[in-house]
């Protein structure tokens, strides 16, 4: 009924827009206030329901948009009103924002459900079941903040969401803040993410300030309406805004040079990696560029920069991913690389392709991360099994070496033990690698096709990145699921419960079918976005481009199979000491080590930025602040001078002058009072008599006046 009426322009659900924020907020409040009395299942159910209701609202908004594609602005209240600065809490409901809402709440809800099972084990594995509730509170907070981000109709409110999701990211990366390297590794990772993001946010703020200077408003409509006029008057202004915004994008969406936080962010629980650091939050940068499309199209120079940053990041991260052993790190670099694809796309002006890839990537990357979580927990279960089997324990765990359940070198052969996980992982990997007809193929190909027309440099960067993508995914699949188990825990790995695998299957289905959103020739998705981004054009399907990328992907997979299956087995013949942990290592030599060490970017940053900065801070703190300011200026000048002044004031002025006046007054008053007190006879009646005398006199005076 709703559908048909909405399609014919019947009831509109736009007024429901605030509820996409309110529902998660209610969920988090319930869990925050009453959660301590609930069981884990109830907590998870409440959080999932809150997210699911938000998804429901997003669906209703989408349904309304079918009938009224122009969308609507749902104003809640005024927020800031200072002179020219007028900011409202208002929700922009249009085709672009609703896509984001659907992705965030839809994928978010699935991850909520998955987390019910995942966190149940994770909190026990890490030894603090009390944090179960906290996790879901953070997740709901994240959903609410993300909804503010994507739902806002002005840059200020967007910034609130932007910072809010950054906060959630920080909280969730440091969720196990007392774990990790030396007991603070995770906390350091959270801190790093926060600080690096702060650099990006600084860019965003600069963009916002410049924008207010140029436009006197933050509202999307007004800014976009004035943009051509401002661009004509001061072209540098728009360029500055867009480039500052690009800095913000590189921070939030993990692009060069601010991508370094994302690999470290894998310290958070795996559902967090899936939700925040793959599917939703990190795409905020892409969304921001798409949202601000009307600004970017005015300055080709900025577009060039954006697409170049995206393209280089895509290739750069893809090469690193090739040499990583941590299952989540591979996916993290893959995410950076894929974000590079999207950023490059929206940078080139292929907004529909970028957003399309954003959607499909959300499906298959969330799927990959969640499946990786399932794999990790499967291996952990295996480890648990080994730990508790005394015989096996003695046999295998004698070395005392710490076992890392995320290291792919410890896995292998899991396809028979974790069948469901294997299937969905394979689907996700193939989707990511861009194999026909999975979702990733269509979206990536659209980007490549657009790039081949718009920017050949970027096209080649992305094509090579796509090759590496297929290669490292093939490498990962083979290392994790094929061959023989390489450790005892992998041998005893167990499949995850249905509460985890069912969301995986849903995501897998979406990864398979997601491409249908925007098939070449139909362009459903492009048509949908056209209502908001009026100038976009449907990309042409280019058979050559598709053929090249598919051929490269297949080649990469075959290469991976040759290396990691054939060659690996051949290497097993070598003695343990000489046996390389990766068949690629002897082939690439030092290059592999460089890749494994992520091009030493962290070290370079450390040497170039962190160390000098720390030295400067130490100098300022010790010499300027403490020695000069505190020891000399405060103690000597101010304190000494003050003491001198007070001595003069207290002895000469206070004692000599003011006290003398006070004493004289006191003596005089006492003398007068001694005489006056005789008037007080103690007889109430005579007091009254004097009152009456006064009364008579006053009345008499009034009469005779």
């Amino acid at each position: 009924m709703f559908l048909s009426e909405a399609a014919t322009g019947g009831p509109q659900f736009f007024y429901l827009a605030p509820w996409i924020v309110i529902f998660p907020a209610i969920g988090l409040l319930i869990n925050l206030i009453f959660g301590s009395r609930f069981s884990e299942k109830v907590i998870g159910a409440i959080a999932s329901t809150a997210s699911g209701l938000a998804f429901g609202v997003a669906v209703l908004l989408g349904v309304s948009l079918v009938g009224h594609p122009e969308g609507e602005i749902v104003s809640l209240i005024d927020w800031i009103t200072i002179g020219a600065l007028q900011v409202r809490w208002a929700f922009q409901v249009d085709t672009l924002s609703v896509v984001m809402m659907l992705v965030v709440s839809g994928v978010g809800t699935l991850i909520h459900i998955y987390s019910i099972g995942y966190m149940h084990e994770d909190v026990r594995h890490n030894g603090d079941p009390g944090r179960y509730r906290r996790f879901f509170i953070y997740l709901n907070l994240f959903i609410a903040m993300m909804m503010i981000l994507v739902g806002s109709n002005n840059y200020m409110m967007l910034f609130v969401g932007w910072e809010g999701v950054g906060l959630c990211s920080y909280l969730l990366i440091g969720f196990w803040y007392d774990k990790g390297k030396d007991g603070i590794g995770n906390a350091l990772a959270a801190k790093k993410a926060f600080i690096v993001n702060r650099v990006g946010d600084f860019g965003f703020l600069l963009a916002a300030f410049t924008m207010f200077w140029a436009f006197r408003t933050f509202d999307f409509q007004e800014v976009f309406a004035k943009a051509p006029e401002v661009a004509a008057a001061a072209p540098g202004m728009i360029l500055a805004i867009t480039l500052f915004m690009l800095l913000g994008v590189t921070g939030k969406s993990a692009q060069l040079p601010l991508y370094v936080w994302l690999p470290d962010a894998m310290a958070g629980p795996t559902p967090v990696s899936a939700l925040i650091h793959a599917a939703t939050m990190v795409t905020a940068g892409v969304y921001l560029v798409a949202r601000s499309a009307e600004l970017y199209v005015l300055v080709p120079q900025a577009q060039m920069w954006v697409s170049l940053v995206g393209g280089i990041t895509a290739l750069f991260a893809a090469t690193i991913a090739v040499a990583q052993f941590d299952i989540k790190k591979v996916l993290a670099y893959s995410t950076i690389s894929q974000l590079g694809f999207m950023v490059a796309a929206v940078g080139m002006g292929a907004f529909a392709a970028g957003m399309f890839h954003l959607v499909t990537h959300a499906f298959f990357k969330a799927l990959l991360f969640l499946s990786a979580g399932s794999v990790i927990q499967g291996v952990e279960r295996g480890e648990h099994h080994v730990d508790h089997d005394a015989k096996l324990h003695k046999l295998l765990k004698g070395s005392g070496h710490h076992f890392d359940p995320q290291d792919m070198r410890n896995m292998g052969g899991l396809r028979s033990r974790m069948k469901t996980t294997f299937v969905v992982y394979l689907i996700g990997a193939l989707a990511l690698a861009g194999i026909v007809p999975l979702a990733g193929f269509w979206s990536k190909d659209e980007i490549l096709a657009e790039a081949s027309l718009l920017n050949p440099t970027v096209y080649w960067l992305l094509t090579i990145a796509a090759f590496f993508t297929a290669f490292y995914m093939g490498r990962q699949i083979i290392m994790v699921f094929f061959g023989k188990p390489r450790s005892a825990p992998a041998e005893y790995a167990q499949e995850s419960p249905p509460v985890m695998t069912v969301p995986l299957m849903v995501l897998a289905a979406l990864s398979v079918l997601g491409g249908a959103l925007n098939l070449p020739g139909m362009h459903t998705f492009t048509g949908w976005l056209e209502h908001t981004l009026t100038f976009i054009h449907p990309g042409e399907f280019n058979l050559v481009v598709a053929g090249v990328s598919t051929g490269l992907a297949l080649l990469a997979i075959i290469l991976a199979w040759l290396l990691y299956s054939r060659r690996y087995q051949a290497l097993q013949a070598l003695p343990t000491a000489k046996r390389p942990d990766d068949p690629l290592r002897p082939i690439l030599g030092p290059i592999f080590t460089l890749l494994e060490n992520k091009y030493k970017v962290d070290e370079i940053y450390d040497a170039l930025i962190v160390k000098p900065y720390a030295a400067l801070s130490a100098f300022l703190a010790d010499v300027i602040d403490w020695k000069f300011w505190h020891d000399w200026f405060h103690d000597k000048i101010i304190a000494g001078g003050f003491q001198l002044l007070t001595r003069v004031l207290s002895v000469q002025v206070d004692l000599g002058f003011i006290d003398a006046i006070g004493n004289a007054l006191g003596k005089g008053t006492r003398a007068v009072a001694g005489r006056m007190s005789l008037l007080q006879s103690g007889y109430v009646r005579s007091y009254m008599l004097s009152v009456v005398v006064g009364l008579v006199l006053i009345v008499g005076f009034l009469l005779l006046r």
Binding site: M676, S677, L678, L679, G682, V684, R685, V692
Partner: protein, 100 residues
């Protein structure tokens, strides 16, 4: 109705009697009663003026005076009782320790 002057004059006479009572009598209770008489004469004037001006406010004021008088009597008599317990007298002239 009679001229309001009559009532006001009567009120004045009662008031003056009360005043004289307060000054001349030594008995604290009678002084107290004289004060009540003065309040009452004021009330009479209030009601008379209220009638002349047809304003209910005058009567409402009498109502307030009634309430405050009741409070005053409760506290005043309690004071008197406690004074009597310590001094064994309610002669106000005996209660003159607060003199200069």
């Amino acid at each position: 109705m009679l001229p309001a002057t009559y009532y006001v004059g009567l009120s004045a006479i009662l008031f003056i009697i009360g005043v004289v009572g307060v000054i001349t009598r030594r008995n604290a209770i009678i002084i107290f009663m004289s004060i009540e008489l003065m309040l009452n004469s004021a009330n009479l004037a209030f009601v008379a003026f209220a009638r002349v001006h047809e304003a209910m406010s005058g009567q409402v004021f009498v109502f307030f005076v009634l309430a405050v008088a009741a409070a005053e009597v409760a506290v005043g008599l309690a004071l008197m009782v406690s004074i009597f317990h310590t001094k064994h007298s309610i002669d106000v002239d005996n209660i003159s320790s607060l003199k200069g």
